[in-house]
């Protein structure tokens, strides 16, 4: 008879850690279900309300179209201005944060910390912070978009810098070129296509968040939307939502087609 002791077992008992995680998750899930007070009766009532909302929203009321268009324009302004500055600031930050371009470990750690703070705090919270610091209106929205873009773009730029081929930058270093010349002469050109794609994603992301920023008073179409909702003018709200949908889809199409052409 052959030695069977080396055969893998059919079943291996999960480790203690797996048990802890599984039980913890189950406990959290059940507690969440209870706390959110889900009942069939509430769901039915919600469905009824939804029908009533849709009933009042159709047909959408476009009489305030000039105001809506103004607000939508403001939203796009916030998004474009914010994302432009965000991408511009992201380049130096990414250079300071990437392993192969950072001047030293201390600077790199600080830059990475700044980027991760920008990323970890959600855009709506940035907007709240800037509404408090610079007041209601589009400037707060722009600043929020800048922070949000930095958290996204600077991270991807720096990751791209780190995976660039070493050869060309080494060749420029070997000619006696300085650090900055090597970065801007070899590493940036090599990353350019990927940076453009990242920047276009940032634009799409910025349009979507600029729409919601108005909800906390940071300017743009969100202000119109929250007003309409609070006045129970669901038909006006529907018109606004339709406009938002149209603009966001148009932007995504545009950016997709540009991206396809570049890559």
């Amino acid at each position: 008879m052959s030695d069977n002791s080396k055969l893998p077992p059919r079943f291996r008992a999960p480790s203690a850690l797996t048990w802890v995680v599984a039980v913890g998750f189950a406990a959290f899930f059940i507690q969440g279900m209870i706390a959110s007070n889900i009942s069939i009766e509430r769901l039915v009532r919600g469905a009824n309300n939804l029908v009533r909302f849709v009933g009042q929203a159709v047909p959408p009321d476009f009489t305030r179209m000039p105001n809506i268009a103004d607000a939508m324009l403001e939203t796009m302004n916030i998004a474009i201005v914010g994302v432009t500055f965000g991408c511009l600031f992201s380049v130096p930050l990414a250079i300071l944060a990437a392993r192969n371009t950072a001047p030293n470990m201390v600077v790199r750690t600080i830059a990475r910390f700044v980027i991760s703070v920008a990323r970890t705090i959600p855009d709506l919270i940035w907007a709240l912070i800037f509404v408090v610091t610079v007041g209601l209106g589009p400037l707060a929205g722009i600043l929020a978009i800048i922070m949000d873009t930095i958290g996204f773009a600077a991270r991807f730029y720096s990751e791209r810098f780190e995976e660039v081929q070493k050869g060309p930058s080494e060749a420029l270093t070997a000619t006696g070129a300085g650090r900055l010349s090597v970065i801007f002469g070899a590493i940036l050109p090599e990353s350019f296509a990927s940076m453009t794609a990242t920047s276009l994603f940032s634009v799409e992301k910025a349009i979507r968040s600029a729409v919601t920023l108005g909800l906390v008073g940071a300017g743009g179409i969100g202000v119109e939307l929250s007003t309409a909702m609070r006045l129970f003018r669901y038909d006006q709200a529907a018109a606004i939502i339709l406009v938002i949908l149209l603009v966001v889809i148009a932007f995504e199409q545009l950016s997709t087609s540009i991206r396809k052409r570049i890559i």
Binding site: E170, L172, T175, G176, A177, L180, G185
Partner: protein
């Protein structure tokens, strides 16, 4: 006359792996030396340390008398400026055309680096010189092509033009034809050595073909497992001796004593 390259007892390690184990040699100005040795014997490491791309553990390197170790960043750049480097994989910037890549050869010369070397901003003299360099390697008509639109041999020619643009006195060529087919390799090697001879440059060039080494070189430096095994004028070397470089313990990472590490 001070020698072009003077290396004394060079030692370089990557962690526990001793790659250069006490290398000494002298290359007089104007001499063309071929470096031979099996893969993994430390040739690239040696060449990289001559350019300051690799840090020495101990030993000294002097390029035209200027010491590399202990040099400030500015002095190091000054030394690199006088040293052209030709790579096996050409190392052109793929997104930029040949002309721009050649212009980059002058990066080290300019106080404002890149700002004075872009196609848009370069001086008329530099632009003319870059075109002249491309012309010397026979690539003037490909100035606007990107590396991906050129064959391997053509890319290496552009890289040689970049080296010419740098106007160096010493050239280091690390397997310049190892990624090329025999015919293109032959043409590129012809070009490289012709330029080196015409400009009276000193060169250290790695090759893998013994007959080419004997044909082009003035002197042969043979490396085996991190040591210099042969250092002799071409006329005094024989094929048997050179072939021995490629048998037995050639690699620095194949030592039985280090296999356990």
């Amino acid at each position: 006359m001070t020698p072009a390259i003077q290396a004394e007892q060079l030692r370089v390690s990557y962690g526990k792996l001793h790659v250069l184990r006490g290398i000494s040699f002298i290359i007089p100005a104007g001499q063309g030396v071929v470096l031979l040795g099996a893969n993994g014997c430390g040739k690239s490491t040696l060449m990289r340390s001559l350019n300051g791309l690799e840090k020495l553990q101990s030993g000294t390197i002097r390029i035209h008398g200027a010491a590399l170790s202990g040099a400030s960043r500015r002095e190091l750049r000054q030394i690199r400026l006088g040293m052209g480097y030709v790579f096996q994989h050409f190392n052109l910037v793929p997104q930029l055309n040949a002309f721009q890549n050649v212009l980059f050869g002058s990066l080290g010369r300019h106080r404002f680096g890149l700002l004075s070397c872009l196609g848009l901003t370069a001086s008329a003299a530099d632009r003319e010189m870059a075109m002249h360099c491309l012309d010397r390697v026979g690539m003037a008509d490909r100035a606007q092509h990107r590396p991906s639109e050129l064959s391997g041999g053509q890319q290496q020619r552009v890289a040689i033009a970049r080296m010419l643009m740098q106007n160096p006195t010493v050239v280091i060529a690390d397997e310049p034809i190892a990624s090329l087919d025999p015919k293109a390799g032959r043409e590129v090697l012809d070009l490289l050595w012709r330029i080196v001879r015409e400009e009276k440059l000193s060169m250290l060039c790695t090759l893998h073909q013994l007959e080419l080494a004997q044909e082009y070189g003035d002197r042969i430096l043979g490396m085996k497992a991190g040591h210099v095994e042969i250092d002799a004028p071409v006329a005094e070397t024989d094929t048997l001796q050179l072939n021995a470089l490629y048998s037995g313990m050639t690699r620095v990472d194949a030592q039985p004593t280090e296999a356990a590490a």
